[in-house]
C-alpha cells in the first residue's frame, strides 16, 4: 500500500495512512464525516423548510385518498362528497365522477392552504366568523358528545325540578266593565260579579252591558305562557292563583274593571325524571357547554396580552370586572 500525504497551509503534513481502515481512529476521517453529515443535514432541512415537497411521504395511508402537502383527504369525506355531488350511492358513481370529485377536493385543499399562507383568518371577516364558530364547536365538542351518567342527570334534575313540570293550561273568561261607563262602572262590576257567581252566562252579562274579552283566533284552553300574552301580566298573576270555577274580584286596569272567571285551571304537574330525561340531558349539555365556553374564554384572556387604548381602558376593565 502506497503512503499518501496531505499538505496543510502551514506546511505540516498529515499522514493518510489508516484513513480507510475502520479499525483505526483517524482525525481527518472524523472531521470529514462530521462536515459531510452537517452539510447533508442542512441540505435536507433547507429542502424541507423551503419546499413543501421536501416533507412529503410517498405512501398514502389506507384511510386517506390523497395527501396534499401532507394534509390528508379522507376517504370518508371523499365518499360523502361524491354521494352529495351526484345524488347517488358511492358504488353507483363512475370512475370519471370520482376522479372529478377528487380533483375538486385537491383544488379546494390547495386554495385553503394558500388562504392560510395569505392570512385570510387575520383579514377576511367571513373566514374569521367561520373560525370563531369552528373553535367554539371544538371547545365544547367534548362536553357535547360526552354521555353524562344517570347519577349526574338525576342530580341535575333534582336541582332544577321545577323546570321540568308540564306547562300549565287554563280555560279563563275575562269580562270587562269599560272605563267609559264612569262612576257607574264599580256598581255594574259588583252586579256582574254577583251574577257570575250565581251562574250567569256570558250572554246574560252582555245583556247587562258587560262584554267578554275574547282574543282573536284563540281557543278557550291556553298554555300559561300564551294566556299571559293574551291578558297581560297583572291579570295573569291573579288568574294563575285561581281554582277551577272561581270568579275573582274586579281588577282595575286603565281600560276598565276586569272580572276573571276561571273555568278550568290545570296547574303544572312535576315530571318524573324518566319522563323528563331527554329534556334534562339537553339542558345538562347546554349548561355544560356554557361553562366550558366561559372557562375557555377566561383561559384565553388569561394568557393573552390585551392592551386597550387609554380612552377605553378604564370602562373596558369595569365591564370585565362585572363578568362572572
Amino acid at each position: 500500500m502506497s503512503m499518501v500525504h496531505a499538505a496543510s497551509d502551514d506546511g505540516k503534513t498529515y499522514r493518510m495512512e489508516g484513513f480507510w481502515d475502520p479499525r483505526r481512529i483517524h482525525p481527518l476521517r472524523s472531521m470529514i464525516l462530521f462536515a459531510l453529515g452537517t452539510i447533508i443535514g442542512i441540505a435536507i432541512a433547507g429542502y424541507g423548510l423551503f419546499t413543501a415537497e421536501g416533507t412529503v411521504t410517498h405512501r398514502v395511508p389506507p384511510e386517506n385518498l390523497a395527501l396534499v402537502n401532507n394534509r390528508p383527504i379522507l376517504r370518508t369525506d371523499f365518499i360523502a362528497q361524491t354521494e352529495t355531488e351526484f345524488g347517488m350511492p358511492f358504488g353507483e358513481t363512475s370512475r370519471e365522477q370520482r376522479l372529478k370529485v377528487l380533483d375538486e377536493m385537491i383544488r379546494e385543499e390547495l386554495f385553503v392552504q394558500r388562504g392560510l399562507e395569505l392570512d385570510f383568518p387575520g383579514t377576511d371577516p367571513d373566514t374569521r366568523t367561520a373560525l370563531v364558530a369552528a373553535v367554539l364547536q371544538q371547545v365544547v365538542a367534548e362536553v357535547t358528545t360526552r354521555t353524562p351518567s344517570e347519577d349526574e342527570l338525576r342530580k341535575f334534575f333534582a336541582a332544577n325540578e321545577a323546570a321540568y313540570a308540564s306547562e300549565g293550561t287554563m280555560v279563563l273568561r275575562n269580562f270587562l266593565v269599560s272605563a267609559g261607563k264612569g262612576p257607574a262602572a264599580t256598581e255594574l262590576a259588583q252586579r256582574a260579579l254577583a251574577a257570575l257567581r250565581a251562574g250567569a252566562t256570558p250572554e246574560e252579562l252582555r245583556s247587562m252591558g258587560v262584554e267578554e274579552v275574547v282574543p282573536e283566533h284563540a281557543s278557550p284552553e291556553q298554555f300559561y305562557f300564551a294566556e299571559k300574552v293574551h291578558i297581560g301580566a297583572t291579570l295573569f298573576d291573579r288568574a294563575v292563583t285561581m281554582d277551577s270555577g272561581e270568579v275573582g274580584e274586579p281588577i282595575a286596569l286603565p281600560d276598565g274593571l276586569h272580572i276573571l272567571q276561571m273555568v278550568k285551571n290545570t296547574h303544572p304537574t312535576p315530571s318524573s325524571f324518566e319522563r323528563a330525561r331527554s329534556q334534562v340531558l339537553s339542558n345538562f349539555v347546554t349548561e355544560a357547554r356554557k361553562r366550558v365556553e366561559d372557562a375557555d374564554l377566561r383561559y384565553l384572556r388569561g394568557k393573552a396580552d390585551i392592551l386597550i387604548a387609554e380612552d377605553y381602558a378604564a370602562d373596558y376593565e369595569a365591564t370585565e370586572a362585572d363578568k362572572p
Binding site: F90, Q138, A141, S166, S219, F223, R277
Partner: protein, 254 residues
C-alpha cells in the same frame, strides 16, 4: 476447566431457537396479514364490504370489542337501543339518517348527531310546541293544548289505529299549516331521512311506544337526541368496521 454445552443441550438450544424463529415468523405473518386486511377494509367501497363474506366477518370480529366498550352503554349489548331515552335500536328497520348503508352509518359514527362539529348530522331539531319560543332561530308559533291533542289524533289515525275523527281532521290541518310539521316530517308524515326526521306512521318509535301521551310529550316538549362523534377517538378503520357490524346486525334482524 470450562466445558461447552454438551451435544444434547446444543440440540435443545437449536430447537428452542427454531421455535422462537417460527413464532416470530408467525407473529410477523399474522401482523402483516392483519394489517393488509385492515387496509383492504379501509380501501374498499364501504357499501361493498358486506358482500365480501371474509372481509365482513373480519370487520365484525374486529369491531365487536370496540362496540362493547364504546357503544353498548347506550345502544345496548344486543343493539336494541332504549326507547325510554330516545336511543335508537340499531337493529331497527327504519333509519333516522339515510337508508342504513354502510357509508351512511360510517358517517354518523364519524361525526355524530348534534355532536358540535361542522360535519355532524344536525339540520333540524324537533321544536317544543308548548313553549313560548318553540324553536329558537326559526319563526314558529307555539301550538295550543287542543292543537297538540288534535295532531296526536291525526298521527294515531295515520298509524291505522282508532282515533277521534274530527280531531284527526283538525290535526291534519295543523300538521300541514300552523304547526309546519310537514316541513320536516313530509306531507305524508313518513319522515325525511336526509335531515333525521323520523316517520310518524311506522311501527317503530324513537321515544316511547307511540301512545297518545308519548306523542303529546314529544310535540309539547320537543326532542333533540345526540350521538357522540368518534372521529379522533377511534381510528378510521375501526369506525368502518363498526359501521359494517351495525349494518350486519340490522340486516340479520330482518
Amino acid at each position: 476447566m470450562v466445558h461447552g454445552p454438551g451435544p444434547f443441550l446444543r440440540w435443545k438450544m437449536c430447537i428452542a431457537a427454531a421455535c422462537a424463529a417460527l413464532l416470530l415468523a408467525g407473529a410477523g405473518f399474522y401482523w402483516l396479514s392483519h394489517s393488509a386486511r385492515l387496509a383492504a377494509l379501509m380501501r374498499a367501497d364501504p357499501d361493498t364490504v358486506p358482500g365480501d363474506a371474509d372481509l365482513a366477518a373480519f370487520a365484525i370480529a374486529y369491531a365487536r370489542p370496540v362496540y362493547e366498550q364504546h357503544c353498548a352503554s347506550c345502544h345496548g349489548a344486543a343493539l336494541q337501543g332504549d326507547r325510554t331515552r330516545g336511543i335508537p335500536a340499531l337493529v331497527a328497520h327504519q333509519w333516522l339518517y339515510g337508508g342504513g348503508r354502510v357509508a351512511e352509518i360510517e358517517r354518523t359514527i364519524l361525526y355524530g348527531i348534534r355532536a358540535g362539529n361542522t360535519k355532524t348530522r344536525h339540520l333540524a331539531d324537533m321544536p317544543g310546541f308548548a313553549r313560548a319560543v318553540p324553536y329558537p332561530g326559526y319563526a314558529l308559533d307555539p301550538l295550543e293544548p287542543g292543537d297538540i291533542r288534535d295532531v296526536v289524533e291525526y298521527l294515531i289515525n295515520a298509524a291505522g289505529k282508532p282515533a277521534e275523527a274530527d280531531a284527526a281532521e283538525r290535526g291534519a290541518q295543523i300538521f300541514a299549516r300552523k304547526g309546519q310539521c310537514f316541513d320536516c316530517h313530509e306531507r305524508d308524515a313518513r319522515g325525511d331521512d336526509a335531515i333525521g326526521a323520523p316517520s310518524l306512521v311506522g311501527s317503530e318509535w324513537l321515544y316511547g311506544t307511540g301512545t297518545r301521551q308519548d306523542l303529546y310529550d314529544s310535540i309539547a316538549g320537543g326532542r333533540q337526541g345526540s350521538c357522540p362523534a368518534w372521529s379522533g377517538t377511534l381510528s378510521p378503520v375501526t369506525i368502518r368496521a363498526l359501521a359494517v357490524l351495525v349494518y350486519a346486525a340490522s340486516h340479520e334482524a330482518r
